[in-house]
Amino acid sequence: MKPFLSFGRISIVFVFAAFCFLNSAKAQLFLGNGKISGDFGFNGMYYIPDSLIGAEEVAGKVRANTFLNLLYTNGGITAGVRYEFYSYPLIDFEKIGYQGQGLTYYFADYKNDFLQVTAGTFYEQFGNGLSFRAYEDRQLGVDNSLLGTRIKVTPYKGIVIKGVWGIERKNFDFDYTKRNDYIRGIDAEIALAELIPGMADKGFTTTFGGSFVSKYEKSTEDYYFVIHPDVDSLTATATIPADKIPQNVATWAARFNFGYKGFRLETEYAQKINDPNVTNQYIYKDGQALFFSATYSTKGLGVSASFIRADNMDFRSQRGEKNNSLLSINYIPAINRQYAYQLLGNYSYASQPNGQIGAQFQLNYQIPKKSKLGGKYGTDITLNYSRFHTLNYDTVLLAVENGTMSGTEGYSSSFFGCGKDLLYQDIGIEISRRFDKKWKLILAYNYIIYNMEILQGHGGLFHGHNVAADLTWKITNKHALRLEAQHLYSKDDLGSWIYAMLEYSISPRWFFSVGDQWNYGNAESAQRIHYYNIAASYIIKTTRLSLSYGKTREGILCVGGVCRAVPASNGVTLSVTTSF
């Protein structure tokens, strides 16, 4: 494959980067009336094979992910560039195909009160993302940026119209001359509180919005598949001819947000036209998604309720792509409560754009300060409950006759009906209390049910009770000690786990930690493994250096309902991040 970057281009980037670093003693580098800022990250690991945990020998032994962002701003003009070197990336990223190097992000942008235009690479989101979300999550190895153009117009204060047109990034495959797909979209939003004088002063916020997004993907190939696959002696095949595979697939969405003082309501509905693709087994049913969220907060009390239903809404630039969120055009949010607890990480709910219905409820209450129960600083209590199911659907007759949904409408589904399969349930309580200036304690309990078969492709229903404690002791103004302890009790999957981590910090420079995850409840005694980790970090101004050694268990990593697999690993990690 022809390299995307010539040596000359790479040299220019490095010279530019070196120039910036030579000047990094200054907080920002000034060029004329403009300024340059940026950030750099290096995350490298020396891999040590460990057959017990399944950590394979890694070719090259030392791997690293590296990037540099540079941003130039001068009045209304902004230009930016990012270079990524992932040629020999951390093994997690290699396994999802995020491997390569190049100028992955470059743009120029002009903005005034009426107009903003962007040429090059950009990120954008319409509403909650049900119809369109181009975003980046470095931790997950997700980068759905578009290369093209974007226009934002503000004809009146409170009215914003956006248009996007471009080709979506596909890992490091930058030969766009061979791409047969692109995206175009338009979004409009009206903020009434900005249009109608006095409305905001009375505490009202109201916005209406709508978007339309369409992808084009050339269709030249007939799609062949087997019908009656269960009949052993007879092979019957069918074809979806290329001209029956839609080249232009559109999604539209409408949204409404309303707020009055402490009350806020957000809702968005999206619909997608026929989009046969590999994730839905090439069915022609329309897709639908509904997101609803209502919150109320006042001093010491907050309540929220959210609802989501998504049906056949996996929407990608290429119909043959199914891995993680590669080439995803839209985003179906995960509305369940997100946790940072180590032991629950492997049972994080992954949003199911092709079929989920669920709700989340949360209550936050603060027992008042200086009361008997609340203590001097008050005590915060959070209760939450969430539950998600598959959809309640009936396979269409033709699909039953053919033994496959491919090439049919697939199924019909009742809008508010829940399917028989539970995907995820979480009941939790968290209590947080500061005892005095030195001591703070957080206690949490969760009971979760997690459908491993549907969400991870293996196993059955996982039931787990997790108890967590987070105790902080501020020894002096500079020195603090934090203990995090968790216990996950389960008879399913790998059984029970216990975790403890002790962190000592000398503010503002040093952090030291030592921790261990122990799978003490594994049914196989040889698999009762300790996953220990020891780490030290040093911070100077905007630079952070971190060195650690430890083992990572095989599992998943999820951020906002988007997940990727994490392979087992063992080794020494060095990371350097800085911004200037």
């Binding site: 369409s214 087997v226 092979t235 019957a236 095949t237 074809t239 979806i240 232009n248 036209i273």
Partner: protein
């Protein structure tokens, strides 16, 4: 007036950005009953064969060297190496000196999907070698050697029946999984042909009577083939049959020089798990 024009333009853009497809969506290919009997598979005799897809072009001056190298490799590896020559890319275009069009939809799609550079270049078992899909001529043998042949995932049996009254070839396959395999798999059937005489650029000269071998003629069930089950998941020790008709009407293909190539692959990793070839008429 301006607003009306704007609305009409927006409506037109939106309308043209949606392809609403009317039923029926599918064209049944007709049931092909597998009315042939496959013999019992001798599991001990199954070896993992290697697929070599050589991308070439009749206007490519260096490609005869590639064909020569391929012939040497076929002598070295015998029938454990299955070759498919694919004319694709700019050097496969036709012109007045090279009027015969060797290009196929399947070949062009493979060339594009694997992001290949100038020919001659080969993909070995659709697995990356030195972090590249396309392997240059000097490394072909190294890439073949790099295939782990101890991993024998499946055995493929082929039976071809040519019905001259219909002018159709019926290609039947039976795939028996010999190992557990977690990902969905697909089987694609290619029709290739030997002994096609047509001009070929050779250095600065043109060989008018060049003999082209292993030429891809048709992806019988598309480029990437068909799944055996709805999910594509297969089970160890299970066998899966597929049968496809190939209509020779209106084609200049010589049935006596044609071969069916069956490629079992993992669409998620692209790797070829097993490949088998059998002459259309024996």
């Amino acid at each position: 007036m301006k607003k009306s024009i704007l609305l009409i333009v927006i409506s037109a853009i939106i309308y043209s950005s949606c392809d609403i497809i009317e039923t029926p969506y599918i064209s049944p290919n007709g049931d092909v009953e597998v009315d042939v009997e496959f013999p019992e598979l001798n599991r001990d005799s199954v070896i993992r064969k290697v697929l070599m897809e050589e991308f070439t072009g009749h206007r490519c001056p260096n490609c005869p060297e590639g064909h020569e190298r391929l012939a040497q490799l076929l002598t070295t590896y015998g029938d454990s190496l299955v070759a498919v020559c694919i004319h694709a890319g700019a050097l496969a275009n036709t012109n007045i000196d090279f009027p015969y069009d060797f290009r196929t939809e399947a070949g062009t799609q493979l060339y594009n999907d694997f992001g290949l550079d100038p020919v001659p270049i080969a993909i070995i078992n659709r697995k990356q070698y030195n972090n590249q899909w396309g392997v240059e001529l000097n490394s072909w043998q190294n890439a073949i050697e790099a295939v782990d042949r101890s991993e024998i995932y499946a055995g493929i049996q082929l039976i071809n029946v040519f019905k001259s009254n219909e002018n159709r070839l019926y290609a039947y396959s039976k795939t028996t999984m010999l190992k557990e395999y977690a990902n969905p798999v697909q089987l694609s059937l290619f029709l290739i042909e030997d002994g096609i005489v047509s001009p070929q650029k050779d250095g600065v000269l043109v060989d008018t009577f060049y003999v082209h071998n292993h030429i891809l003629r048709l992806g019988i069930n598309g480029t990437y083939g068909s799944k055996f089950t709805v999910s594509g998941i297969v089970e160890k020790d299970s066998s899966y049959t597929l049968g496809y008709p190939v209509d020779f009407t209106g084609k200049d293909w010589d049935i006596s020089k044609c071969t069916i190539v069956a490629i079992l692959h993992d669409p998620s990793t692209r790797e070829v798990l097993q490949v088998e070839a059998r002459k259309a008429i024996e």
